[in-house]
């Protein structure tokens, strides 16, 4: 990598949300820029660097948690007014720190995304989009799923207002006034939007997006239709994208793309000679990167990447080389600046220590009183529980502003906890008593010092549903722990898609009964992931899903009093039937359930599984041979005497082992699903075939597609 950047810490503020740090435009040529950053304590801090020390320009008073920070100003002038939103209020500050605007948007929900352009203000709460001009209501739109971010094409170049919403259901919604102009499908749930080159490119129509599953891309939003320019996959399974910026850090005259991810990765993508985007620089911070900007802060003439992390560290990755103090003598010399800095910090620490001791004493004293209560404020946790498409498992990430002491995981459904290499925490599984306490998993993670972020992987089984609970205890006095709950849904391995293949043989499940639209929607939310909690607008709705493990699909269409589910996988239908019946009985609603089983669908599903199964079996066989073959090779001195098949195994051995390691228990999962398919097929016929399962497993051991299909047909 040709880029060499050095990491420098500048300042720590409170916990930060996504996109809450911006660089103010530089005054004059090549001067350093000021940084504006807002945190969960409600404080806006604006500071500049002088001789390696952070000098505050202003600091606002604490208040409600700030969820976004944007820059604005009259069109055509430097954008140096600071806008922040907290709750449903938007405030504006001048660069000197004078508050000139306080605008209550009167939304029921708090604002989580905002865009400012001249006198136009665009805000988004969970599902609602609002456009104000000079603080007067202009347009309104209700989105079908949660809005994660908003951006507008630049009015100066495009000549009209084009707001674009990034919505959780893998769609960018392009608006015109209060109406949807069109929507753009993207490969994952978009989490952040930015204008390309900060101005949307030549035509001002290019928008960069990043997704929660780590992909990024560029789309040109033309007047009538979108054009996808490029997409970058997330093959290395890095974290989700939280922030992006464009800045020429490589110094080649083309603006590079800076990306910050929720696993702490900072990346720079540059254009290579063939016009492709390639990774030019990568650096890993220990916490999720909430904001990223390119600019010049630490020292004049040295460009850098400024990042803020979840716990509020503002730091730079600078092109300025770190000075080497190769003075005489043994001692490592510290620059005078750092010395004063350290001394100041130490003094401050001492004062704090005294205060904390007093506080501690007081707290101890209160334990003598019989009326006093102990109420420790809630600490903030940044958590994410998402389905990974590639290996059909859930990843749970937890992040706390201080070091985590330990974590307790408890689940009331059978799930597998997988090891993640990145974790250094010592995991220990405790004996579980499923009766009477209903525990299927009890595991503790004892973290090493300074662990603020933990990543876990969990594998679920479709049809088994319940709750996973995480109790997080940080290293903070007085010690408290917080519990977070995550639903493992009955069809946990399904993912939303936009279209499905209608030609496949489908099984149908129809429900008719006295239920409202809201009720049936809540049942679907209960069964399937990635469905918005809010009941959709309109009379009826259709959702499409795909099973990430097998590739089978599901179509759900429902309205008041009627629901239809179509899937080519009979097990999916069976699970839905069981869960929905249970839910309806719970609420004493009479359901009329009818189903239509398509015999071809089972064979179709088996054929879909076939290539996966065959590949896995072959892989397992090859991996088994590797050690023996290597031994033969050592014994004979070379591998020339082996048949070509074995020689190729030897040649590919590292690759094969890698592949094998990547998918632990893949074969067992496939076997489990085929068994479910077998049982479910005959369940719909009213037959119990559990006794024949051992026969089925025998056939699977000597796998052959035709004999398997025959067995399914004959039994």
């Amino acid at each position: 990598m040709d880029l060499n950047l050095n990491h420098v810490d500048y300042l720590q503020v409170g916990v930060t949300s996504q996109k809450t740090m911006k660089l103010l435009p530089a005054i004059g040529r090549k001067a350093t820029q000021k940084v504006a950053v807002a945190d969960h304590d409600g404080v806006v801090t604006c500071f500049g660097m002088k001789k390696g020390e952070a000098v505050p320009v202003f600091k606002s008073l604490p208040g409600q948690k700030i969820s976004r920070l944007e820059l604005g100003g009259a069109l055509g002038t430097p954008q140096e007014k600071i806008f922040v939103c907290s709750g449903s209020e938007v405030r504006g500050f001048t660069k000197k720190g004078k508050q000139f605007l306080s605008f209550e948007a009167n939304l029921t929900e708090s604002i989580n995304a905002m865009h400012v352009s001249g006198a136009d203000l665009f805000v988004c709460a969970s599902y609602i989009y609002n456009h104000y001009c000079d603080c007067k209501d202009q347009d309104y739109y209700l989105s079908g799923d949660k809005i994660n971010d908003i951006v507008c094409l630049p009015v100066e170049t495009v000549g009209r207002t084009v707001p674009i919403l990034a919505c959780q259901d893998r769609v960018l919604r392009v608006l015109q006034g209060s109406e949807l102009l069109y929507d753009v499908e993207v490969p994952g749930p978009p989490s952040v939007l930015e204008l390309h080159n900060k101005d949307g490119g030549k035509d001002g129509e290019e928008v960069l997006y990043g997704t929660a599953d780590g992909k990024l891309g560029l789309i040109k939003i033309e007047r009538s239709a979108p054009v996808t320019r490029w997409e970058i996959d997330n093959k290395k399974k890095k974290g989700g994208v939280l922030c992006m910026d464009t800045f020429d850090i490589l110094g080649d005259g083309v603006k590079d793309i800076l990306v910050g991810r929720d696993d702490g990765t900072v990346e720079v993508y540059g254009l290579d000679s063939s016009g492709e985007h390639t990774l030019r620089f990568e650096h890993v911070l220990s916490e999720s990167v909430t904001s990223i900007q390119g600019g010049c802060v630490g020292k004049e003439t040295f460009d850098e990447i400024i990042t803020t992390t979840y716990t509020g560290w503002v730091s730079g990755l600078t092109t300025e080389p770190q000075q080497m103090e190769a003075g005489p003598g043994e001692e490592v010399k510290m620059s005078r600046e750092t010395q004063t800095k350290v001394a100041a910090l130490r003094a401050e620490l001492e004062q704090l220590q005294v205060k904390v001791l007093q506080g501690r004493e007081k707290y101890q004293q209160s334990s003598q009183s019989s009326t006093a209560v102990s109420a420790v404020p809630v600490f903030s946790i940044n958590d994410k529980f998402t389905l990974c498409q590639d290996d059909a498992s859930y990843s749970l990430t937890l992040e706390v502003q201080t070091a985590i002491d330990n974590l307790l995981l408890q689940s009331d459904v059978p799930i597998d906890l997988l090891d993640v290499d990145k974790n250094s925490a010592v995991v220990s599984f405790s004996e579980c008593d499923s009766e009477p306490n209903g525990n299927f998993l009890l595991a503790t993670y004892r973290c090493q010092a300074n662990t603020t972020r933990l990543e876990l992987k969990v594998r679920s089984i479709e049809g088994q549903y319940g709750t996973l609970q995480a109790y997080i205890t940080p290293r903070l006095q007085p010690k408290t722990c917080q519990v977070r709950q995550y639903q493992i849904k009955p069809l946990s391995l399904h993912q939303r898609t936009h279209t499905i293949d209608q030609d496949r043989p489908m099984n149908t499940l129809s429900l008719v009964g006295q239920f409202s639209f809201a009720e049936i929607h809540s049942w679907v939310v209960f069964c399937l992931p990635e469905v918005p909690e809010k009941t959709p607008a309109g009379e009826n709705i259709t959702f499409f899903f795909q099973n990430t493990f097998l590739g089978t699909q599901l179509e759900a269409t429902y309205c008041k009093g009627e629901a239809h589910f179509k899937s080519d996988n009979i097990s999916t239908i069976s699970i839905l039937k069981d869960v929905l019946t249970k839910e309806a009985t719970k609420r004493k609603i009479n359901l009329n359930i009818s189903y239509e089983v398509n015999e071809d669908s089972v064979n179709h599903t088996l054929r879909m599984i076939h290539p996966k199964l065959e590949y896995q079996l072959l892989l397992a066989k090859k991996v088994q041979l590797i050690d023996a073959l290597k031994e033969l090779q050592v014994h004979e001195g070379n591998a020339d005497f082996l048949i070509p098949e074995y020689r190729s195994i030897l040649e590919e051995s590292t690759h094969l082992l890698e592949e094998y390691k990547k998918q632990p228990a893949h074969l067992e999962r496939l076997y489990g699903m085929i068994t479910d398919l077998f049982i479910d097929k005959f369940k719909f016929k009213g037959q119990n075939v559990k006794t024949k399962v051992s026969l089925l497993l025998e056939i699977l051991d000597n796998y052959d597609l035709n004999s398997l299909i025959d067995f399914f047909n004959e039994a």
Binding site: D9, A326, V332, M334, T338, K341, V342, L345, R346, L349, L352, Q353, K355, V356, G359, R360, K362, Y363, S367, S369, S370, A372, V373, S374, A375, V376, P377, V378, F379, Q401, T402, L408, Q410, D412, N423, S424, S428, S430, E431, N437, G438, N439, T444, R446, N450, Y471, T473, R475, Q477, P478, K479, C481, Q482, V483, D627, K630, E631, V634, H635, G637
Partner: protein
């Protein structure tokens, strides 16, 4: 940043922990390591193309620097060093489960080849105590054996369990080496020749030991712990989720003090300060580390640290140069310091905020505050330990009851303790319906060891999402699984051991109260317990003349009690008379079995020799028939050969079963000697062990039992 000065890819797998460096020709250091298929390879990059294959040694055809040594047995340990007085170079010692081979690589000859019945799990070469010549000491099943250059057995003793690691170092500081032995019963034992000097109890199998400097040594356990001891005091230890494969002492930062270098199962190498355990350097291999050694591999007068991975990758590191000033990692000291201080500041600020917010909280919390888990400030947890006899539904256990004094509930209890749970923690998480202010945790310690229970209890309200964490440490006394309630009908134990002490009965009472879980203390040294593990009785009786008798059928328990009492009363030497009729009877049976197995072994060996002669004949006949074109006879012969081969395989299976059974018996004999020793303390103990050993050597079984009963006559 310290980088390797050389990297080699050897294309041979390396067995974990079986790597050494030796100057086999007296000049050139070569890397020797055990690889697959019962082979040892020697990597000699210094003298290319001068060797020829003969005897055991053959040149590898893949790589001219590597020669392979056929051992034809699975290698279990290996080392190199100067053994004989008149050899040109180092001797290579290779141990397997049945043999020990001393081999002169330079002359390509066997120095000696000894059968070792107890196997060789670990090997060390060097001088021990006052023994003149260097010894190759191997550790096998409960036994230690030392051979001199002639292959004569110069040293033999027994230890508590299978030996896993050995090291020689001057533990006592008397200028002579002691032998440190790590074994599968979690103990590190120190032998001054055959006298046991000290014992340190750990909580997992001790897999590696290494000498640091002076009386300081490093150790590694099977559960991922590494640490440093100075004599019997542990300096520091850390635990990782990975396993330490190999540890080695090396001065990597050139400060004159060695660091502990650890190679981990995930491929990580780290160097830790011997004083604090702080990481000063780390690097990564792509596969698990196999061994860490040192040697002047480049022949330039500087010793390098040489790390090898199981896939055959070798890296050499030179100690850091002066310019690096001990800073081996790619970090800036200043940055780290500032970051650490800021982190501390942030932590203190957060703690302070906790106290402030807590002071604000009004007594009489509202419903909304229930989420925060407000509890009365005077809440204190009560814990109690009690012994519970077996009931129909539950095994006998120790009950730890934790309760709150008010209406608050305990959401979950985490207990971290070493050596008594499957993992390092045990969790109790009642289901939502069963929440209460009292939690009872059954604990069943598998061994009689004192344990610190670190209890973390999550206390709050029923609907809280945040809980207060109460941290309490309770000690579980060593002999906690013994109940004072005695069933009068239970039979009196037949085994007994009596000894006399010169101490007041009150001191014995004190010891009883400290080491047993007694509800309200006792004041007489005459007590009877029921063992909750075995069910038998334990009767302790002390007469006015200081004679104590322990009556139990469990010889291990008697030994533990005596050792514990002796260390409590600071008794240095203690003679005892013992009689354990049932155990002795068993031992007598085992000894006869050993004889039987030996004779079966001999018979089988003879039969095998017979068969191999047959095979030779048959093969010649078959080949003759083939040359004569008599295919009918040839086929017949080959079928016979096939049958014979099958017989041989069957016989081999019998042989191997016989051998395993023999090993098990030998282990129990060794353990019996160890147990007999543990009934005594100090000199009498060592005398009993050596006398028992002599008795077994002379095959004098009656004398053996006499010694076990009455102790050895002091010589």
């Amino acid at each position: 940043m310290l980088v390797p000065i050389f990297t080699l890819k050897l294309n041979h797998k390396i067995n974990p922990r079986m790597v050494t460096v030796g100057k086999f020709d007296g000049v050139h250091p070569c890397l020797a390591a055990a690889t697959q298929a019962g082979k040892v390879f020697i990597h000699n990059p210094h003298t290319r193309g001068q060797r020829q294959a003969a005897h055991r040694l053959s040149q590898s055809t893949q790589d001219s620097d590597i020669s392979l040594l056929n051992i034809n047995q699975a290698v279990s340990c290996l080392t190199a060093g100067r053994l004989g007085p008149n050899t040109t170079g180092d001797t290579l010692l290779v141990g397997s489960q049945t043999n020990l081979l001393a081999y002169d690589v330079h002359d390509n000859t066997d120095i000696f080849y000894r059968e070792v019945a107890d196997g060789a799990n670990a090997i060390v070469l060097g001088k021990l105590g006052d023994i003149q010549s260097p010894l190759a000491i191997i550790g096998g099943n409960c036994a230690l054996q030392g051979f001199n250059y002639e292959g004569n057995d110069q040293f033999w003793t027994v230890t508590g369990d299978n030996v896993r690691s050995l090291v020689l170092c001057d533990f006592t500081g008397d200028g002579k080496n002691e032998l440190l032995v790590g074994s599968e019963d979690f103990d590190i034992r120190v032998f001054r020749e055959d006298e046991l000097v000290s014992e340190m109890a750990e909580n997992e199998t001790v897999t590696s030991l290494c000498h640091m400097h002076g009386s300081r040594f490093g150790y590694a356990l099977a559960n991922g712990t590494v640490g440093v001891y100075d004599r019997t005091a542990r300096y520091w230890r850390i635990k990782s989720k990975n396993h330490a494969m190999s540890i080695h002492a090396f001065d990597l930062n050139a400060d004159g003090v060695v660091e502990l270098i650890t190679g981990w199962s995930n491929g990580k190498i780290d160097a830790r300060s011997d004083r604090t355990g702080e990481v000063i350097f780390k690097d990564n291999f792509s596969s698990s580390v196999a061994g860490v050694v040192e040697g002047d591999y480049r022949m330039d007068g500087q010793v390098q640290l040489i790390c090898t991975s199981v896939e055959g990758e070798v890296r050499g590191y030179l100690p850091a140069s002066k310019e690096m000033k001990g800073n081996l990692m790619d970090t800036s000291v200043e940055q780290d310091l500032i970051r650490e201080l800021s982190q501390r500041k942030q932590n203190l600020l957060l703690e302070l905020r906790n106290y402030e917010e807590n002071a604000k909280a009004a007594p009489g919390a509202s419903e909304g505050d229930m989420q925060m888990g407000v509890i009365p400030a005077n809440t204190q947890l009560q814990t109690a330990l009690s012994v519970r006899a077996a009931t129909e539904s539950q095994r006998a256990h120790i009950e730890l009851s934790i309760s709150t004094p008010n209406e608050t509930i305990i959401r979950a209890v985490l207990i971290f303790a070493e050596g008594i749970f499957e993992g390092e923690s045990h969790v109790v998480h009642p289901s939502a319906q069963n929440l209460s202010g009292c939690v009872r945790v059954p604990i069943i310690p598998p061994k009689d060891i004192p344990v610190d229970l670190h209890i973390k209890a999550f206390v709050g309200g029923k609907s809280s999402t945040q809980f207060h964490v109460f941290e309490i440490t309770r000690q579980l006394p060593r002999f906690s699984m013994y109940d004072l309630n005695v069933d009068p009908l239970s039979p009196k134990p037949t085994g007994r051991v009596t000894f006399t002490i010169n101490d007041r009965p009150q001191r014995v009472v004190m010891w009883l109260n400290q080491n047993f879980l007694l509800p309200e203390g006792i004041n007489s040294p005459d007590v009877t317990f029921t063992s909750l593990r075995g069910g038998g009785l334990l009767i302790i009786n002390m007469q006015s003349n200081g004679q104590i008798s322990l009556r139990t059928d469990d010889i291990d328990l008697a030994g533990d009690l005596i050792q514990s009492l002796a260390s409590f009363l600071a008794i240095e030497d203690l003679q005892a008379e013992a009689d354990f009729p049932t155990y002795f009877e068993e031992l007598r049976g085992t000894l006869t079995e050993v004889d039987e197995f030996h004779s079966v072994h001999q018979k089988l060996t003879a039969a095998m020799a017979d068969h191999s002669n047959h095979i030779r004949n048959m093969l010649v006949q078959a080949e003759d028939a083939r040359l004569l074109g008599d295919f009918k006879t040839m086929k017949k012969r080959y079928i016979e050969l096939y049958d014979l081969n099958r017989d041989l395989i069957n016989e081999y299976k019998i042989r191997s079963n016989n051998h395993n059974a023999l090993l098990a018996c030998l282990k129990s004999v060794n353990q019996a000697i160890q147990r007999a020793g543990r009934l005594r303390v100090g000199k009498p103990k060592n005398q009993v062990i050596s006398a028992c050993r002599d008795a077994i050597k002379n095959n004098n079984i009656n004398a053996l039992f006499k010694i076990m009963r009455a102790g050895a006559p002091s010589s």
